[in-house]
Symmetry: C2
Subunit: 277 residues, 2 copies
């Protein structure tokens, strides 16, 4: 253990369900020595249609639960929660707290050739305007088209594959974005990379998809490096908690992460409650 | 001006010549509101074959020159200088100091599908082993093949286009890397993106090229954001200094950056000398 033990901490990652596993997969790939403690709030998923106050309350509860473990960084791997709760959580914790919105925005600006950027997300994320603000803060000349796709998270959480029904749901969800001349599309929900092939089939190969998950892992790597928090040796095992059915969570997680995972159920009623501002 | 005036500072960028303009181009694209103060040490270019001690001395001189301007961050946009002088410079300055090696390494790990990564750079960069260390520190299982290409920087500085001679020089330089099954190639010298099409023609479309320049601008954006140092309003004009011929520098800079630039000559004899450890 190093002097302060800080590099030995795990990376806490939370999401409304299985979507944040797309961030975990990238953390395992881009930072293979690091360990993760994950909480997927499957029982209360989706967060998208909930009020900002409720999402803030749930997020704070989960962060307090994860804080039982020694953490060196925290990732709010849910766009809805990032949009409404990131600032609050940052103010409460001394460790680096990353959301998934600005990494996706920065990556989109990096790859966009024509400055015409689409954003898809839950109602909560799109209504918050978080991506549009993050993009335009950096470059006010960008053309940004945001569109809520409330049917896509339930599609992913159902574990449905490449079926005709799935293709129809995706086609209908993305219809308003076609013909807008977009060159880049931000997958503004960590669930969406799980159906990226269906989205590309609908939007066309010429529209570059930005996975906030990949980009967030990349920025986590950057931040840990600049703060001297990367581990030297392999970390211990990662841990996964879900408020829903652990078997169903394990099936999706092991399929997506391509490795065995240890999943425990943690009822949301037992989560610490906390004062919400 | 904000309270501390910190967000109003410029981004200092230095290179052995015109190569760092690839970083400037990406900073202008990814952070269009920010201003840059650039120093290209064309007179003493290339740095690649020089001793580590000499490169450290030149780098320190230039950093002290750039410090006459209010800077909020500094980018050592030269791989050779990053490899040997980054740590020294970091210890001397309180502002964030970025090199170009670890951003390129992190990006390569992000895109590599098979973990077979090539690195091309100057002799100085390759001999330092900086990329290999940065890559293997994150993932010791990677296969890394490094190769020095001393003929490429002079090719770029000559401003040569897509000529038969240029193609021959590139073919000969890259020959040892062919047939090694690489999936990713790090352009470990900021000059190389200027001849990226020639490199792709030689290596094949299936090898993904990583431009340290693009990735460094992306990480700069991340760091400035997390430190609250991004400007809100457009910054004043950028400034370019060269120790060589300002007209020839201006020609390459305006062609590459696609905008008029203000270039001043600054003789290296007039640079501040400083104690080198």
């Amino acid at each position: 253990m190093d002097q302060q033990g800080r590099t030995q901490g795990a990376i806490g990652i939370l999401d409304s369900g299985v979507g944040g596993l797309t961030v975990v997969k990238e953390v395992f790939r881009q930072l293979p020595k690091e360990a993760v403690v994950y909480f997927g709030d499957t029982m209360r998923c989706p967060y998208g249609p909930r009020s900002a106050r409720e999402v803030r309350m749930f997020t704070t509860e989960i962060v307090h639960f994860l804080s039982r473990y020694p953490l060196k960084a925290l990732v709010i791997a849910c766009n809805t929660a990032t949009a409404v709760a990131l600032q609050d959580i940052r103010e409460q914790f001394a460790i680096p707290v990353l959301g998934v919105v600005t990494p996706g925005a920065r990556a989109a600006i990096k790859v966009s050739t024509g400055g015409r950027i689409g954003v898809i997300g839950t109602q909560g994320t799109v209504q918050s305007g978080a991506y549009e603000r993050a993009l335009k803060r950096i470059d006010p000349t960008l053309k940004v088209v945001s569109h809520a796709c409330p049917t896509l998270v339930p599609l992913v959480e159902s574990g449905s594959g490449d079926t005709k029904l799935a293709r129809d749901v995706v086609r209908q969800a993305l219809a308003p974005l076609k013909g807008q001349g977009l060159d880049t599309l931000i997958l503004g929900c960590t669930h969406y990379p799980l159906i990226a092939p269906l989205i590309t089939r609908e939007m066309g190969e010429e529209v570059v998809l930005i996975s906030s998950a990949e980009e967030t892992a990349r920025e986590l790597s950057t931040i840990l490096y600049h703060k001297g928090l990367l581990v030297e040796e392999n970390q211990r095992e990662s841990l996964f908690f879900t408020s829903g059915d652990p078997d169903s969570f394990r099936t999706i997680a092991e399929d997506w992460l391509d490795r065995p995972v240890r999943v425990e159920q943690e009822q949301t009623e037992s989560l610490p409650t906390s004062v919400i501002r």
